[in-house]
């Protein structure tokens, strides 16, 4: 199978597969679940087959001519393959976990439909080489996300879903304005045709508004903690695999692969994102709702990814690419552990939990491992990504920003261990057994992967390095 077919299948299988979910739902519950696992599994495998191509540093542009100026363009390069592989793989694990998590809920047809559509549009966005198609997939994701956040249908939840949708939609429209302004300069939406263009500062501002709203960066972040009302699987999907990673991915795709950033923005960006990171870490240290803490933690970690990319040197960019993988694995693990706990004790307030390590040993250890990885402690994978980002920041001549990033890491350690101590240690308040097997296996797998990613770092690192050299053309 050649690259073109594989990429088209990666996008079409989940999108078309998602619409078949209700049909299988009509037949039988089991058939629907099997179909969802099959489709997401296939979506996870397809990008993996592209890895050899990516590891050779291959780059291929696929064009399907449509209406003038709106060609369907796909860019297959190491960055896209990396992102697609990470997202679809974590998405697959979350689908498997969902089997246990939402098996007693209503509206499962819609749930699986939206989840698959979500993953599918993510694949589309990742490979898109046309600004308009990036925007289109961006909005499909927003719609799927809106339905999923309000999954439980309670009025308060629907309101939070509306908040998330309106904010990210508003951001996206502003971003579209930015795209239009760029069109004014370049007369094309094809990003392969405008590599190396210096974009106007206002267009950068408009686009960043969209990216920051999607990637939940201060001051456009508060919808993300509120989205914690969704089923935990959805939150994990939003945080680890699909939604918030779009912003950072689009940043890499647009501002590193395609455009050149004006110098003013290169000066200002590291400070903006680190303030975001610090504020979110502070909020995470104050919150007492399990999922809100983790949500703020994501906002905080996203700051690091932006930081590495905005430094635009080899260490920073490859650190951030790696960060997408490490954070995806660890944060998915943390949320799914939280899901097991919340499912069992029926509360989200960490003050009402305690001593769960006795009844949930696997979950507790998985949580600990993923925490270590998020903080950036070896031998877990998160160490390398965070270290490289900070190294890149120092090498980029911004030691104060690096110091702030390290202080934020101390804060991260503080609040994650506060959570761990309150939830898993101490005296047991609600002794409760662990969830179903599929749930426990998935969190264990994520913990093991976080460890393996650190021990065998040279493999993901190789791809991250290739992706970095491939996209940062000015470094060559």
């Amino acid at each position: 199978m050649n690259v073109e077919t594989t990429v088209l299948l990666t996008i079409l299988v989940p999108i078309l597969g998602s619409f078949a979910v209700p049909l299988f739902g009509l037949a039988a519950k089991r058939a629907r679940s099997a179909w969802a696992v099959l489709v997401s599994g296939l979506t996870a495998v397809l990008p993996l087959t592209l890895l050899p191509f990516a590891l050779q540093g291959g780059e291929q542009v696929i064009r399907k001519p449509l209406v003038q100026g709106f060609d369907f363009i796909l860019v297959v390069d190491p960055l896209a393959v990396f992102m697609a592989a990470v997202s679809s793989f974590i998405g697959f694990l979350i689908v498997v976990y969902s089997l246990g998590y939402i098996r007693h809920e209503e509206n499962q047809n819609e749930y699986y439909l939206m989840v698959l559509l979500f993953i599918g549009s993510m694949m589309g966005l990742v490979f898109s080489g046309n600004l308009i198609f990036i925007y289109l997939f961006w909005e499909i994701i927003a719609i799927a996300c809106w339905r999923l956040i309000g999954f439980y249908r309670e009025p308060a939840h629907v309101r939070k879903a509306d908040k998330a949708f309106l904010l990210t939609f508003f951001g996206a429209v502003v971003m579209l304005l930015g795209f239009v302004q760029i069109y004014g300069v370049t007369n094309t939406f094809d990003i392969t045709a405008m590599r190396g263009t210096l974009v106007p500062g206002t267009a950068v501002l408009l686009i960043l508004f969209g990216l920051f709203s999607k990637s939940a960066t201060v001051p456009l972040h508060t919808w993300l903690p509120d989205a914690g009302v969704a089923p935990t699987t959805v939150t994990a999907l939003l945080h680890a695999a699909v939604l918030v990673k779009i912003g950072v991915y689009a940043f890499a795709r647009l501002f590193i692969y395609t455009f050149r950033l004006p110098d003013g923005w290169r000066e200002a960006l590291p400070i903006i994102v680190m303030i975001s990171s610090l504020v979110a870490a502070g909020a995470a240290a104050v919150e007492t709702d399990f999922k809100r803490i983790l949500a703020y933690s994501t906002v905080s970690q996203i700051g690091y990814i932006f930081l590495g990319f905005s430094m635009m040197n080899a260490a920073g960019v490859s650190g951030s690419v790696l960060f997408i993988l490490m954070h995806g694995l660890a944060k998915a693990g943390l949320f799914l552990c939280a899901g097991i706990v919340i499912h069992a004790v029926h509360t989200k307030d960490i003050r009402e939990m305690g001593g769960l390590i006795k009844t949930m040993p696997v979950t507790a250890v998985a949580f600990l491992v993923c925490s270590f990885s998020v903080i950036g402690i070896p031998p877990f994978g998160g160490f390398f990504s965070k270290f490289l980002v900070i190294l890149g920041t120092v090498q980029g001549g911004r030691p104060w920003v690096a110091a702030m990033a390290l202080f934020t890491a101390v804060l991260t350690m503080y609040y994650l261990f506060k959570v761990f101590s309150m939830v898993f240690l101490g005296e047991a308040k609600h002794p409760a057994p662990e969830g179903t097997k599929s749930m426990v296996y998935v969190v264990a797998a994520l913990a093991v992967l976080s460890l393996a990613a650190g021990l065998f770092i040279s493999y993901p690192m190789k791809l991250a390095n290739i992706a970095t050299t491939q996209m940062s053309w000015w470094l060559r």
Partner: protein, 622 residues
Amino acid sequence: MTPKMLLLPILLPAVLAVVLLLLPRALRLLRDILAVAGAGALLYYAFVFFSVKDLRLAVPWLGMGIDFDLRLYHFSSFILLALAGFLLLITIYTTVRMKDAPRGREFMAYVFLTAAFANGAALANNFVPLLFFWEGLLVTLYGMITIGGRPTSGRTAVKALLISGFCDFCMILGIGLLWSVAGTSTMSDISVEPTGLAAVAFVLMMIGAAGKAGAMPFHTWIPDAAVDAPVTFMAFLPAAFEKLLGIYLLARISLDFFKIRPGSGLSLLLMIVGAVTIVLAVLMALVQKDLKRLLSYHAVSQVGYMILGIGTAIPVGIAGGIFHMINHAMYKSGLFLSAGSVEHRTGTTELKKLGGLGREMPLTALGFTVCALAISGVWPLNGFVSKEMVFHGAVETGSTIFAIAAWVGAIFTFASFLKAGHSVFFGERSKEVPAVKESQPAIVLPILVLAGLCVLFGVYNKLPLTLFIQPILQGRGEAGAHVDFTAHALAVFNPVALISIGCLVLAFLLHAYGFRKGGRKAYLASEPIHNLPGMHQAYDLAEKRVFDPYDQGLKVIRGLSLGLFKGIDRPIDFFFEKIVTFTGAKFTGILKKAHNGHYANYLAWCLAGLIILAGLIGLLAQ
């Protein structure tokens, strides 16, 4: 011997750790045999490596000039040997001491995992592998303290993790800066002048190294862990491994990476840190009522001597600091293991409840006494030799104040060990603990081995000095100068040694006075100093943790977090939740009112629109 062999000290303990963790409880005997045999094999290879001394393994790792680079040379092979020796003794001790402890299996696994990380850190010749192994120790540190199983163990573990983590993160920043200045991350290629940015890098890296060694103000988790963590852990990490690694790195930083000169500002900074650590920690140690806590404060205080010695930047001082590191690891480990032996039999380490155990536990008492005399610097034990070298170095710098601080430390060190030994093993037999027996051979053996080494390294100090210490300093200082510190190692008739011996006599008198004042109760011997005007208030504040940077730091973190949350996060959310929705509702409300269903109203709108359109067209037509 191929370079690949260098992976052995890392992989063997790591694999053993996994195996030990997975072996079921029923196979405990096999587990113990495997552990002891593994540690023995590591010690054997450490000797082999020590004889080889020169080996390098560098394989590409992360790209960007970051190799997985391990280098064996005399300094790292010496550290490797010391680590392996302690590992074997601790393993033997653990087989009995942690036999029935809950999570004992886990403890053994952590011991070996720690050994793997520590060996890696000692061998690393590139900053990234160094950080990988160095920071990896945080994981086992956290795990081992929680095994203590007391209600506060979790809290202490987090405290240790946060403090050590903070130090490690400082080191990351320092390494980043040094990397930018030197242009490489290969440790053996780096040697820069400590000026400007490099000086900042030095201070940050020093925080990392000194923090690992437990210097002030990064020490406060150690006394807490003495109570909350298993005593074996104390003998293993804070007493031995962390000191070895921390001082090893500190020596590398100030000898290799940066050219620190005597009398320079950074040398002075190191000496101040050392002197302050010596005096303040020993004053805290003096008044402790629990043997383990007392020992833990000494574990902090003694680091001061090492840092002071290295900080002098004078060969004899540096050699003294490094020699003190290995000596300290031996006697402090021996002391903690003795405390563990006492606790093993009596179930307590409170000085008040113990007394006169010497007759029932003669071997533990012997080991404890030798180690206590060694730490106090009594002639002719190893502590005397290394302390003398540090004193000489401090005097040679010309800043006598540092030598005085070191001597003050020596007085109170001896005084507090007189108190501790007297309370536990000598004096009247206490009635609070029932009759006990001497501990099992596996517990006593490591203590006696360590005590024996203390005697050997003192009486025959030529052996460690020529074998381990002097090669490290060879070729530094004036070119061609012969490095030899053995000449005056045990000499008594020089001013420095005479003052030190005077200090010991003073300490003895202090103890005797306090003993008589306290109604012939040894554990009250430190009360006269405790009750000195001014001192008492200071001690009370210290009890309340006013001086604990961790507690103060947590307050700052909490305050800052609350400030960020209430000051930035919530107002932003308020904007979206209230202001945006309110204006939205108002705006749509106005539009809604306009659409009231009255025909005349709509007609008016249409007319108004037409007029505006006409006006616009008119404008455009012009």
